[in-house]
């Protein structure tokens, strides 16, 4: 067994342990409610049958002399999203739908591309092969136009078939990294130890297939940016705070990173913290981990971890630590709009402390990167800021 790095003394984790206990208590209270809605892993035959059903409907409407239409749940409207503290953002059961018509020049391209992706999925599921979204894009890049179009259509199809992306045999390229006290076995049997190497391990692409997770971690730290993540690795943060796990999604997290965080939470019920920039974009990323996004709201049950807490960088820390204004960045108009939009979201009502922090940001009209802390000292973040926050419960 690998040599376990010496972490801080046991008393350091007292507050963390209390936090964990309270999280578990909350979980026990809410465990009676069965999860509703969302997608569940679907068998291949079910996916094939769903696609056949859709094709059948199209042919039937052609036979009726009607132009075929797809009805897709309208996920772009907040009206169709409900917020539940225990789940995050999820779709309402009877949400409004938008029609993708085959006889309108505006939507016909979308209609055709959905059919194209359905036929690709059909082929993948039939042949039991997997493809990434990028693969699919390159099969006919001329036709698809851009990767975003493919991504959106895959989300639509996933929502339409009520099946997670994995069941559709579509993989997303993982960009996330993981490091710290964690080991697991991949689907092919290879054992991965995230603590064993000085560099981080890439988040695997098949999260469903991972088995035998082992960890003693006291907490999991989600770092917004890869640069900060690497900096913490260089500063031996994982060893200093051992046992712990660090994850980064390198900005807006991909599906696999979110699935992994969710899986770790489901398995170990670790306290989870986010370290993001004190700006609206950082908050948005934290919200995606915690409450999910509108576009993936149909899969919220598999992706969101409402137990996540905001560790830093809090806008109030900027004043508290006397970070000079010169290291701060003024809020742009776009930032302000983003901030306003977050303030309007349903989950902000149950986060009075967040609201307070956001009001501080609005009042100061300034935002700060995590790197603003290097003004105090180059290793202030890993040696002082984070340990203190963790030791004394400086999260909200």
């Amino acid at each position: 067994m690998a040599f376990a790095p010496m972490g801080p003394e046991a008393s350091f984790f007292e507050v963390l342990d209390q936090h964990r206990a309270s999280l578990l208590a909350t979980l026990r209270r809410g465990s009676h409610e069965p999860p509703c809605g969302g997608t569940r892993p679907t068998s291949s035959s079910e996916v094939l049958a769903s696609i056949e059903h859709i094709i059948q409907d199209i042919i039937a409407s052609l036979a009726r002399n009607e132009a075929p239409v797809f009805s897709v749940d309208n996920r772009s409207s907040w009206e169709n999203i409900k917020f539940e503290d225990s789940v995050g953002l999820q779709m309402v059961s009877h949400c409004t739908t938008r029609k993708i018509k085959s006889d309108s020049p505006k939507s016909v391209q979308n209609f055709a591309l959905i059919l194209k992706i359905l036929s690709v999925i059909y082929k993948l599921v039939q042949s039991n092969t997997y493809a990434t979204k990028r693969d699919i894009y390159y099969t006919d890049s001329q036709l698809f136009g851009s990767q975003t179009i493919v991504d959106n259509i895959i989300n639509d199809v996933s929502c339409m078939l009520k099946a997670p992306r994995r069941s559709l045999h579509i993989l997303s390229t993982s960009k996330g990294l993981i490091a710290g006290n964690l080991s697991f076995t991949e689907e092919d049997g290879s054992r991965v130890n995230c603590a064993g190497c000085s560099t981080a391990v890439a988040v695997p692409s098949n999260i469903q297939g991972l088995r035998n997770f082992i960890t003693d971690a006291k907490f999991l730290l989600i770092v917004e940016k890869d640069a900060t993540f690497q900096r913490l690795l260089d500063d031996n943060f994982c060893s200093r705070m051992s046992p712990c796990i660090m994850v980064t999604g390198k900005g807006v997290p991909d599906l696999n990173t979110r699935l992994l965080v969710k899986k770790l939470w489901d398995l170990f019920h670790l306290p989870l913290f986010t370290l993001v920039d004190a700006d609206p974009h950082g908050m948005e990323i934290m919200c995606i981990y915690k409450y999910g996004s509108k576009s993936m709201s149909f899969e919220a049950h598999n992706l969101t971890v409402p137990a996540i807490r905001w560790l830093g960088l809090l806008p109030s820390d900027i004043n508290r630590l006397n970070i000079p204004k010169s290291t701060l960045i003024p809020l742009t108009k776009r930032d302000q709009m983003k901030l306003d939009s977050i303030l309007r979201r349903p989950y902000i009502t149950c986060q009075p402390f967040w609201r307070k922090e956001m009001e501080i940001m609005t009042a100061s009209k300034m935002k700060a990167e995590i790197q603003a802390l290097t003004f105090i000292s180059s290793d202030y973040l890993s040696r002082v800021y984070l340990p203190n926050k963790l030791k004394f419960g400086g999260w909200i």
Binding site: A63, P105, L115, S119
Partner: protein, 599 residues
């Protein structure tokens, strides 16, 4: 001696010019108002064989004839129409015995002429053309035109009073209902947008040539062009569309047509007007139109061009799915120019004779202005063409995706249901076809068709469809026959088909063998049916049947989405069908060539 049409039109011109002068003092842009009744009563002539004695009455139902002095009117009209001088009567004071006597009819002009029946028919058509030309620019003037030949009465009312109107900056108005300019198309139940959307160009000042100025007509004229596509490009978003003809309408001062009705287009006008547009700029190749038929309820253009297709082959008839570029040229006096009745008359006469020369003298300015209008009008066309291109491309993708799933499925119940649904299609297609036949036959200008001809045409059409969509050897690529049956989904992809026949014989490494391509992979947990050779065989048959029905699927798409296929001719729609066929035929061909029962 002048015919009835010339006399009627000249009198109407005189009246409208008179009204215009009367209202000139009010303000510019006020639309002329009035109701005119024109009736021709023809009885077999007692003096002449094969001739009709026609009594033509032009009456104004209201008192808007204003200060028209009978003596002056008669004098001036007689000078314009010397042949009629003896037979023209002003009868406003006389008691009338016509059925319209109950109506107030303070102005009533009657003239009598003897004409042959065919001449009378031509005259009536010319009068109708003239009235249509008038009402599209004078929405508040209405005409009641009736012809009674030996007791048989036919009556038509012309007017656009309650119709949408487009007001041009120069004070002219234009009726924008497309029905005035094109005949409703068969097969299209209803246009999405029933209007034309005229785009005005900026007014161009043109001076009257010096040699004409001597005739007592002085000053400057303003030419305002307006361009529009008809029908509105929005109506064509689902169809292949191209500009198939260009129609020019020339209006002089007071909104009167410059070229007298019934007059054949002089070759010179055609040549001279050609200079107002740089056709090459729009990649249009135009030639004179041969379609002068006036027997339709449309406003006849002064000059009509037929746009040749890009291949250079000139279509024999006006493309039924093409669009017409309408170009209106309004010539009027410069604002504030004092206008007298005889001056107006003189300018009309001058423009009729010399318009080409006037335009040539200001060619550059006129062309710029016309181009601005045409550019904007064609922008709509380009957008519609782009929308159509998108629709067509997307439908091809959708159809091939559906076919890919249907042909690749291992679920017999699914294939069966698809097959059943597809089997329902032919009846509906026949129905659509019959409707189209009916529509074509009921066209206003169509000659009665014998049942034998119709039957022959249907048979021909059916044969065309069979050849076009169902006969595999017609487009069979060389070297395709030895291909082995490999009904995997991938091989149904038309692109791969195009990649060459060798692909079929030598499967790519890792690709499924002919049989294994149909098998459910071990990993796919499908609890439906295990692929047994018998099942595979059955599936082959099913795939073949379903694939053979794919042309029907395409036909239905066509019906639904309005992609129309032209029968005969090398039109763009024909090309569309060719393309659809090209995309869909390979899998079908291939499946039919490799016998389904050879496992």
């Amino acid at each position: 001696m002048e015919g009835i049409s010339v006399a009627v039109c000249e009198i109407l011109r005189y009246l409208i010019i008179h009204w215009k002068c009367e209202t000139a003092g009010i303000s510019k842009g006020v639309l002329l108002e009035g109701q005119l009744v024109i009736s021709i009563e023809a009885l077999n002539s007692k003096h002449q064989e094969n001739a009709l004695h026609c009594v033509t009455t032009i009456a104004c139902a209201s008192s808007s004839y204003g200060g028209l002095v009978p003596k002056k009117f008669l004098k001036e009209i007689r000078s314009i129409l010397p042949g009629l001088s003896a037979k023209l009567r002003w009868t406003s004071e006389e008691a009338s015995c016509s059925p319209d006597a109950s109506k107030v009819s303070p102005f009533r002009v009657i003239f009598e002429v003897d004409e042959g029946p065919s001449m009378l028919m031509t005259d009536c058509l010319a009068i109708k053309d003239f009235l249509r030309r008038i009402i599209v620019v004078h929405p508040k003037i209405g005409f009641n035109f009736s012809v009674k030949v030996n007791g048989a009465l036919s009556m038509e009312i012309f007017g656009t009073e309650n119709e949408p109107i487009f007001h041009l900056l120069n004070g002219s108005a234009l009726a924008v209902n497309h029905q005035h300019y094109v005949r409703p198309k068969c097969g299209v139940p209803e246009f999405l947008c029933s209007r034309i959307h005229p785009v005005p160009g900026h007014p161009v000042t043109v001076s009257i040539p010096d040699d004409v100025a001597g005739m007592g007509v002085l000053g400057e004229l303003v030419l305002t062009p307006a361009a529009a596509l008809c029908p509105c490009p929005k109506a064509f978003s689902n169809q292949e569309n191209r500009i198939s003809s260009v129609s020019m309408f020339l209006y002089g001062p007071s909104g009167l047509p410059l070229i007298p009705p019934g007059q054949e287009q002089p070759a010179a006008i055609f040549t001279e007007l050609t200079c107002v547009i740089d056709w090459k700029k729009y990649h249009l190749c135009v030639g004179p139109s041969v379609d002068y038929s006036s027997d339709r309820d449309l406003v006849l253009p002064d000059v009509s061009y037929q746009v040749e297709s890009q291949e250079g082959a000139q279509a024999q008839n006006v493309d039924p799915w093409g669009q017409t570029l309408l170009l209106f040229l309004f010539v009027d006096f410069h604002s504030g120019f004092p206008v007298q009745r005889m001056e107006l008359w003189g300018v009309h006469t001058m423009l009729t004779a010399r318009l080409g020369a006037v335009l040539l003298e200001h060619q550059r300015a006129v062309r710029d202005s016309v181009h601005i209008a045409v550019d904007q009008a064609l922008e709509q066309h380009h957008q519609a063409a782009e929308a159509h291109r998108k629709l067509r491309a997307s439908h091809a993708v959708a159809v091939s995706s559906i076919m890919s799933v249907v042909s690749g499925s291992t679920s017999s119940s699914f294939r069966q249901l698809c097959l059943q649904a597809l089997q329902e299609l032919p009846a509906q297609n026949d129905g659509a076809q019959n409707a189209e036949d009916t529509c074509e036959r009921s066209g206003p200008e169509r000659l009665p068709e014998t049942s034998g001809q119709a039957e022959g045409k249907r048979r021909k059409r059916s044969a065309e469809e069979t050849l076009g969509f169902r006969s595999p050897p017609a487009v069979s690529p060389p070297g395709a026959i030895p291909r082995r049956l490999e009904p995997t989904e991938a091989s149904l992809d038309p692109k791969e088909w195009e990649a060459g026949p060798d692909r079929g014989r030598v499967p790519a490494p890792g690709s499924a063998s002919p049989e294994s391509g149909l098998e459910v992979p071990a990993g796919a947990e499908r609890g439906r049916e295990v692929d047994h050779p018998a099942v595979i065989k059955r599936r082959f048959t099913s795939v073949l049947v379903v694939s053979s029905l794919s042309p029907l699927c395409v036909l239905l798409w066509r019906e639904l989405t309005g992609i129309q296929v032209r029968r005969g001719g090398a039109g763009a729609a024909g090309r569309a069908r060719g393309e659809a066929r090209g995309r869909l035929m390979p899998p079908f061909l291939w499946l039919s060539q490799a016998h389904p029962c050879s496992p």
